[in-house]
């Protein structure tokens, strides 16, 4: 009996055009990623900061309404935010939202790096290991579609970890206050969060794709990614710290220099031309975040009304993001260009496969 007794039917369905072909790769990639438990765990954990953010934004809504619910908390809030903020909250609305999102995004940056670590290394290296490229490229698919599709997986996952929760938290904060002027005051914050999520996704995505294409062994790729993330961060931090300590000694500020407004002010000036922060990959991303959100000017506004004994700690938070933002953007762009070149040479068309 022939094995094909089941028969073969012709199929006359509809085939989509070529333009969205990359989406099939992205869809499949995201689905595969979501099947693995480390990814799911990291995603679930990455939603915790979003819950906190939502809670804090709602609390702020209560502050704005001078609600009785938080009357007992007022002394505490005044100590933390400063008396003028609690007394006239509407004036500081944009700044508080900015700073809330800033803390949220700092956490999400960390989770994004983790997610890239668990999703990214296999993206191309596994296709190389199993020789899947001929299967892709013999279908109506260009190399650029392949890259876009794979990049889309990272964008999708980071979207789930960062862009979707920030949007939901934003909307929750908005709904809780039931005040449409919030939209006018803070829409830039949401925009910044979304753009920042895309910046992380594209930058980290290209980087991990390039790494993923240079080895068939995904363990090496994970190690390289950890190196780029952790080692550049640590090296940059140590270099900055050594230089700061030296200036602290030279300026004879003693052990209390780190709380001295004068020392920190000169530090901030000094950092405006310091290259050491550029070494850190995540440092560069954070510099872009500051630029998008305008975190430093929010700190500055709180600084201006803060009592003298808390000003030092506010200045402290403005460190590390003082160099020109376009330096960091340049570093990220160079990395992206290098990644694209690497991809170009490692993922060959069939002409050069043999």
């Amino acid at each position: 009996m022939p094995i094909f007794d089941q028969g073969y039917q012709h199929w006359s369905g509809h085939l989509a055009g070529h333009a969205w072909r990359w989406l099939a790769i992205t869809r499949r990639g995201v689905r595969t990623a979501l099947q693995s438990w480390p990814v799911r765990l990291a995603l679930v954990l990455s939603w915790i900061p979003a819950l906190v953010l939502t809670f804090v934004l709602c609390m702020w809504g209560l502050v704005e309404r001078q609600s009785e619910t938080i009357a007992t908390l007022r002394p505490f809030l005044m100590g933390m935010l400063g008396r003028p903020v609690v007394a006239g909250p509407l004036e500081y609305r944009a700044d508080i939202w900015t700073l809330c999102f800033h803390y949220f995004l700092a956490w999400e940056l960390w989770f994004s790096m983790i997610l890239v670590l668990v999703v990214g290394p296999n993206l191309i290296s596994q296709d190389l290991r199993y020789n899947a490229l001929p299967l892709y490229f013999s279908r109506p698919l260009r190399r650029i579609d392949y890259f876009l599709g794979k990049l889309g997986v990272i964008v999708g996952i980071i979207g789930l970890a960062l862009i979707v929760p920030s949007t939901i938290a934003y909307i929750a904060g908005l709904l809780f206050s039931l005040d449409i002027t919030i939209l006018r005051d803070t829409y830039r914050v949401l925009l910044a969060a979304v753009v920042y999520g895309l910046v992380i996704a594209f930058s980290a995505g290209l980087l991990i794709l390039a790494l993923s294409s240079i080895s068939r062994n995904s363990r090496y790729i994970s190690l390289m990614w950890l190196g780029i993330w952790m080692i550049t961060g640590t090296v940059s931090y140590i270099l900055v710290w050594v230089a700061q300590e030296q200036r602290l000694r030279e300026g004879h500020f003693g052990r209390h220099g780190w709380f001295s407004e004068q020392f920190l002010t000169t530090e901030i000036d000094f950092e405006k031309t310091d290259w050491r922060s550029l070494i850190s990959y995540t440092g560069n991303l954070q510099r872009i975040e500051e630029r998008l959100l305008g975190t430093n000017s929010a700190w500055r506004k709180l600084f201006d009304i803060a009592p003298p004994n808390t000003r030092g700690s506010l200045l402290h938070r403005m460190l590390y993001t003082q160099h020109p933002w376009y330096w960091s953007a340049g570093v990220l762009l160079v990395l992206a260009a290098l990644s694209a070149c690497t991809l170009h040479f490692t993922v060959k068309s069939l002409d050069r496969l043999k």
């Binding site: 022939p2 094995i3 094909f4 089941q6 028969g7 073969y8 039917q9 012709h10 199929w11 006359s12 369905g13 509809h14 085939l15 989509a16 055009g17 070529h18 072909r21 099939a24 790769i25 869809r27 499949r28 595969t32 596994q126 296709d127 290991r129 199993y130 020789n131 899947a132 490229l133 001929p134 299967l135 892709y136 490229f137 013999s138 279908r139 109506p140 698919l141 260009r142 068309s349 069939l350 002409d351």
Partner: protein
Amino acid sequence: MAEVEHDGGYGGRCPPYSFLDESLADGYTNLVMPANLFQFASVTKTYGHVRALDDLSLTVPTGAIGLLGPNGSGKTTMIRTLLGLIPVDRGSGEVLGMDFRHRQLDIRRDVGFAPEDECLFPHVQGVEFVAYAGELVGMSGGDALQRAHEVLDYVGLGEARYRKVESYSTGMKQRLKLASAIVHDPQLVILDEPTNGMDPAGRNEVLELARDLAHNKGINLLFSSHILPDVEAVCDYVVVLGRGKLLAQGAIQELKQTHEQSFDVRLKSDSAAFTQHLAKMGCVAEPRGELLRVRIPADKSPQCLWEAAAAERVQIRHLLPQRSTLEEVFLNAVERP
């Protein structure tokens, strides 16, 4: 047919394609079918010093086409050219009426291709594998999944559909590739050496599938192989390649016709007297290397060869009917250095 007159006309040193190109090729394409599956015009493709395709011109009709040639003859290169996967140095051509230099994506949408080497989408079940292949051609997720189940049943992998493809045997992987090539019901299916590494039973199954697709389901087939019997089992028409050149093309039925009145004879001693004796009997004998090719008139039987040998006291050491053109061309291609 033209080849009957010509086939005696070349010696071992004379390249066989010189006549096949001119007379056979044109003769058959005009004769067999009206529509063309694909055509090449002076296509040259080089890899460094290697001429993988050497000024190749041919027109191939629709149907079940065999692409026959020894290792390194340019079969895979030709298929990649058809699919627009590699740029050619020179020449042009069409597949299903589309220029392969400009409409690669459209061609690859209408064609299903199973590559020769082992390649897998990693860590998926059989059915996901085939569905993904369908999505990459533009099928919607639901359509692709449904079709995947159907074609897996068709190729006989229904039982294994939920197994991870890494655990498939070589034969199953070949059938999986076939299933992913036909999932979107293409107009043309290209199978590049689909019987590689398979045991006889598995090989027969794949051949049977390929034959069924081409003959009962009306799908055009380009079946590449270096094994003549495989091509004969599946195809109606054959293109023989050797070192990037076209050695022969034509309907297998006609290329395979044996030459009933023509024999290859090897004698122990000198053949001059024997040849003269045969000539007197109305036979035509021509030396071909160590052999003598003898064509005997229609009213005579091979018995006359023995009679002539006895009369001239020569000993016949070897007597075989002349091979079919196809065998001859193919063996020639394989033996060429």
